[in-house]
């Protein structure tokens, strides 16, 4: 079934590519229709997904035996939400791409191939396969930015590609080293995540490998000071590119840190808690401060991403139940809200062909529905209680406070700063009286645009009000990671930071004994 999740977008891309270039009007609707299929499959998987820590729906096929590489797929509570999010964002991103006038066929095919790659990264449970997907997605994204982006698109595309390729080069060295260590200890090389987690690594080796992996993922997240490619890529990318970049591609970094750095190098992870946490907090504050002074709306949202992703990394390296839960759920939340914000920026850009905040003003009067959605998403992004952002950031901050209290306190300022830059931007763009002539005649959102934003808004609300729908499926896996870290290192999660320590009595006698204890 999981193979189909990857194969469906590829098949869809081939079908779109086979439609003759002259039938321009067909490509986009066809692409959207076909991309609903993986979404349906994803929704079904979400529904039948069992809340356990094990990988589910696993598939395994040997790729090349002597090298120990295999086509191994699996889903757990950490990857499942990301897969569903990816499948959801692609049709929406395509739906927002009616503004693409040139080479539509290639655009749709590229986006669908990107989807296959992104889903593959989350599904892979073999490091070789993971790396293949991790690297392959650069190409469609490179083309999306480079062909359909704005003025400095070539520069941004190149920067995006090279930055990420640089990081993954060192990760590949790490992967090779791991596989060869497996060959030394067990006789044959293996790239299976489960096999590599059993390796005995010396402290030095483990730290070097941790660093190699962390660098690759930190560039992707991006963590301060490796973030400089992100604003360029975001500002130059077309709307669909920005949505998928923020919604999914950046999550490859946070997902990778959670899955591979914690999973493969528990000892080094415990040692690196302060380093990673500090970098994350610097990112939170730095991103927020820089976002305040951005004159460009899209850049503002891009820098807010740097800030928000800092929370995810911080939660990951808090190494507590709340921190990990918060990190995973914030992965989804950020995809929904920032994805929606990029959509909204794209919509106004299509109307006014500018993203400069100073060009706008008073849009509330002219475009009330647009303003409503924008404000809603801003609130979600700030973390207003009742909306999804609150759940994630609250969990992260609580989880961090138990182990890294200083960082948690500084990080909390990020929430305040978010309110400043987002609400101030809202004030400048939407409130007041429209002064510029161009702004007075803007049309409000069309039915198509509303139908793109509504599903995101509904999910924002659902996760905000009933986070357990998601948390129940995530928690067993995050607890599994903590258990694993506790077993393989001397680290112990402090009691208030641990869900699993809650004593559950099965019989009356046990309950009494428990109370006595």
């Amino acid at each position: 079934m999981l193979t189909w999740l990857i194969a469906l977008p590829v098949v869809a891309a081939i079908i779109v590519a086979l439609v003759p270039r002259k039938r321009e009007e067909i490509h986009l609707p066809l692409g959207i229709t076909l991309s609903v299929l993986p979404l349906a499959l994803g929704a079904y998987i979400f529904y039948v997904f069992e809340p356990t820590a094990e990988f589910q729906f696993t598939e395994h096929a040997v790729w090349y035996e002597p090298w120990g590489i295999s086509w191994s797929l699996g889903l757990d509570g950490i990857s499942m939400p990301m897969v569903v999010l990816t499948a959801l964002l692609v049709p929406i991103a395509l739906g927002a791409s009616t503004g693409i006038k040139t080479r539509r066929k290639e655009f749709v095919a590229n986006t669908l191939l990107l989807e296959a790659g992104m889903i593959g990264v989350f599904l892979a449970t073999d490091l070789f396969l993971f790396f293949v997907f991790f690297e392959v997605i650069l190409v469609p994204m490179y083309f999306i930015i480079g062909i359909w982006g704005s003025d400095r698109r070539k520069y941004a595309a190149m920067k995006f590609f090279l930055y990420t390729a640089f990081g993954s080069a060192l990760m590949l060295a790490g992967i090779i080293a791991l596989a060869l260590t497996h060959a030394e200890q067990f006789g044959s090389p293996s790239f299976a995540l489960a096999d590599l987690m059993t390796l005995e690594l010396s402290q030095g080796a483990e730290r070097w490998l941790f660093a190699g992996f962390a660098l690759a993922f930190a560039i992707k997240v991006p963590l301060f000071p490796l973030h400089t490619w992100l604003p360029d890529a975001h500002t130059e990318a077309p709307t669909a590119g920005s949505v998928l970049l923020a919604g999914v591609l950046l999550k490859l970094g946070t997902y990778g840190l959670l899955r591979y750095n914690l999973g493969l190098f528990p000892e080094a992870s415990v040692d690196a808690v302060w380093i990673m946490g500090t970098l994350a907090v610097i990112g939170i504050v730095y991103g927020a401060v820089v976002a305040i002074v951005q004159p460009d709306l899209k850049k503002l949202v891009a820098y807010s991403s740097v800030s928000h992703l800092g929370f995810i990394v911080l939660g990951t390296f808090a190494l507590t139940s709340g921190g990990l839960q918060g990190a995973v759920i914030q992965n989804v939340n950020h995809g929904l809200t920032t994805g929606a914000l990029f959509l909204l920026v794209g919509m106004i850009y299509e109307r006014r062909h500018t993203k400069q905040i100073s060009e706008f003003g008073g849009l509330q009067k002219v475009m009330p529905i647009y303003a409503g959605f924008f404000l809603f998403m801003i609130f979600a992004s700030i973390g207003l209680p009742g909306l999804n952002g609150f759940v994630g950031e609250f969990l992260v901050l609580i989880g961090t406070y138990t182990t890294l209290p200083v960082l948690a306190i500084i990080a909390a300022s990020g929430v305040v700063l978010a309110a400043i830059y987002l609400l101030w931007a809202y004030e400048r763009v939407f409130t007041g009286i429209p002064e510029k002539e161009e702004n007075k005649i803007l049309s409000d959102l069309s039915l198509r645009e509303i139908s793109l934003l509504t599903p995101l808004a509904i999910l924002v609300l659902i996760i905000g009000l009933f986070p357990n729908i998601l948390l129940d499926k995530i928690t067993p896996s995050t607890e599994g990671i903590l258990d694993y870290i506790e077993v393989s290192t001397e680290y112990e999660v402090p009691a208030p930071g641990r869900l699993g320590d809650v004593f559950v009595a099965e019989t009356e006698a046990e309950a009494i004994a428990g109370v006595d204890n």
Binding site: W63, Y64, P66, W67, F131, V132, F133, E135, V136, V139, Y142, F143, G146, I147, R153, K154, A157, M158, F161, L162, A165, F166, A169, L170, L172, A173, I176, A177, A179, L180, A183, P189
Partner: protein, 485 residues
């Protein structure tokens, strides 16, 4: 009279190629047929030679299975038919077929001299094929010279005289110099061991402990330098850009691929089979050459504005990557890399020939502006080949790089692997520059006309690149079985 022990099957592929070359020339002189007739003869020669390598492969496999490898040495120990030799021939002859397809338009454009070009291609393959298969260093030198001299002439065979002549002259002078160095090395190895045969040399070292190996080490060094020139590894690379740029585009890919395949096979054969006891001496040297090649090739390629010079410098970087595979003392990764790289190289130069004209001597990057709009299929093919060379996953380039890097890492050369990985990122940068020009710039000029033969050559290269990237198992298995005796 005692009849000498002649196993004709040992040299059947080379015999067929040489006879084919002679027939092409004789037919041309006698009947002056249209070039397509000569093409027919070439095809027959190619198919026969190819089939015989497959037969040899079966024989080598059988011998390995029963464990008796005595049959694999023919012609009184001159020629080897082990998996390594047969694999090398197989690739050489296969790439020759691809090269002829890619260069057919160029051969046609030569008019009556087309027959010479065909004969030279067949003879060059003969020479390199003998070089790959020989167990004797003198024979290896003969093969090297037969092949190289044919290539010198091919480099000069174009109507746009000056550039091409310059390239041919430069290639000839520096090439002969390198050959001389190689022979000097062979002589010193003989002085040190009393053997010309590679297998016997290994036997010599297993019986004798050499207390003063200076002569042997100098000989080994000279052999490495001579062959390093042929494969255009830094710091012996300076001829490559000028020759790649000046030689007719239709045939450059073939020339470059041949020299690399045969050169690396010879390096591996001499060092890994003949001088394994000295791996503490040659492995660091090769590692240094590999690192230098990767650095020089990829960094200098960044600033090239001519696609052919860019491919030439990237070829230097690839020489470094391939050498990384030998450093670890294994040949599987190296053979796989050389094979898939040769295919991509011929395909890429076929496209260069299509865009700039098959006998032209320059291909400015501006000629590729907006190619994606003018000839989408050609642009996509070029992009696949370039990304394949850069080593993007799901192309053969990634599997190849992965293979050589894993071998080097296992051999204790982690630093070399890290240099290699970082330089791979740099290679992405310049390959992407070509892709930027093709896909992201506005179109200038017209649709590129592509001949059927060239279309086939490019098609085979592209499909091969993707197929061996997704399902590398068959070729990897072959390369793993093709270890030298």
């Amino acid at each position: 009279m005692v009849t000498p022990d002649v196993q004709w099957i040992a040299i059947f592929p080379e015999l067929i190629l040489a006879v084919g070359a002679a027939v092409v020339l004789l037919v041309e002189v006698q009947w002056k047929p249209p070039i397509s007739r000569l093409g027919l003869i070439t095809v027959v020669t190619f198919v026969l030679a190819f089939v015989f390598t497959i037969l040899q492969w079966a024989q080598a496999e059988d011998a390995l299975r029963v464990g008796f490898t005595g049959d694999l040495v023919g012609f009184s120990g001159m020629i080897l038919m082990d998996g390594f030799a047969v694999f090398g021939r197989f690739v050489l002859i296969g790439v020759m077929g691809l090269g002829l397809l890619a260069g057919w338009r160029f051969i046609e454009s030569l008019g009556r001299r087309g027959a010479e070009a065909i004969a030279l291609v067949l003879l060059a393959t003969t020479g390199f094929s003998i070089m790959v298969a020989s167990n004797n260093l003198v024979l290896m030198f003969l093969g090297l010279e037969v092949g190289s001299i044919a290539l010198y002439v091919l480099a000069g065979m174009t109507r746009q005289k000056t550039r091409s002549d310059e390239a041919a002259m430069k290639y000839f002078l520096l090439g002969s110099f390198a050959s001389a160095i190689f022979v000097y090395g062979v002589a010193l190895l003989y002085a040190g061991t009393g053997e010309f045969e590679i297998l016997a040399m290994r036997g010599f070292f297993s019986d004798v402990i050499v207390t003063t190996p200076a002569v042997i080490l100098i000989g080994m060094g000279l052999v490495i330098v001579g062959l390093g020139f042929k494969v255009s590894a830094a710091p012996f690379h300076n001829w490559a850009p000028d020759v790649y740029q000046g030689a007719p585009a239709g045939i450059t890919g073939y020339m470059a691929a041949m020299a690399k395949i045969a050169g690396f096979a010879a390096i591996a054969r001499i060092l890994i089979t003949g001088l394994p006891q000295f791996d503490q001496n040659w492995a660091p040297v090769l590692a240094g050459i590999a690192a230098a090649s990767m650095l020089v090739g990829s960094v200098v390629a960044l600033v090239q504005s001519d696609v052919r010079r860019l491919l030439a410098y990237s070829g230097i970087a690839h020489a470094g990557f391939i050498m990384t595979g030998i450093v670890g003392g294994a040949t599987e990764g190296m053979l796989f890399y050389v094979t898939v790289y040769a295919i991509k190289l011929v395909g890429a130069f076929a496209i260069v020939a299509a865009v700039s004209g098959s006998d032209s001597s320059a291909s400015d990057i501006d000629e590729y502006r907006g190619l994606a709009k003018r000839s989408p299929l050609l642009a996509v093919s070029f992009a696949v080949l370039l990304l394949g060379m850069a080593g993007l996953p799901l192309t053969s380039g990634f599997v190849a790089k992965f293979g050589v890097f894993t071998e080097a890492w296992a051999g204790g050369y982690a630093w070399l692997v890290i240099v290699g990985l970082l330089m791979s990122v740099v290679t992405f940068a310049f390959y992407l520059r070509v892709i930027v020009v093709m896909f992201m710039d506005e179109a200038e000029g017209d649709r590129v006309s592509v001949s059927t033969a060239l279309r086939w050559a490019v098609g085979i290269a592209v499909v091969g690149t993707i197929l061996t990237g997704i399902a590398p198992e068959p070729l990897l298995k072959l390369a793993a079985d093709a270890f030298p005796l």
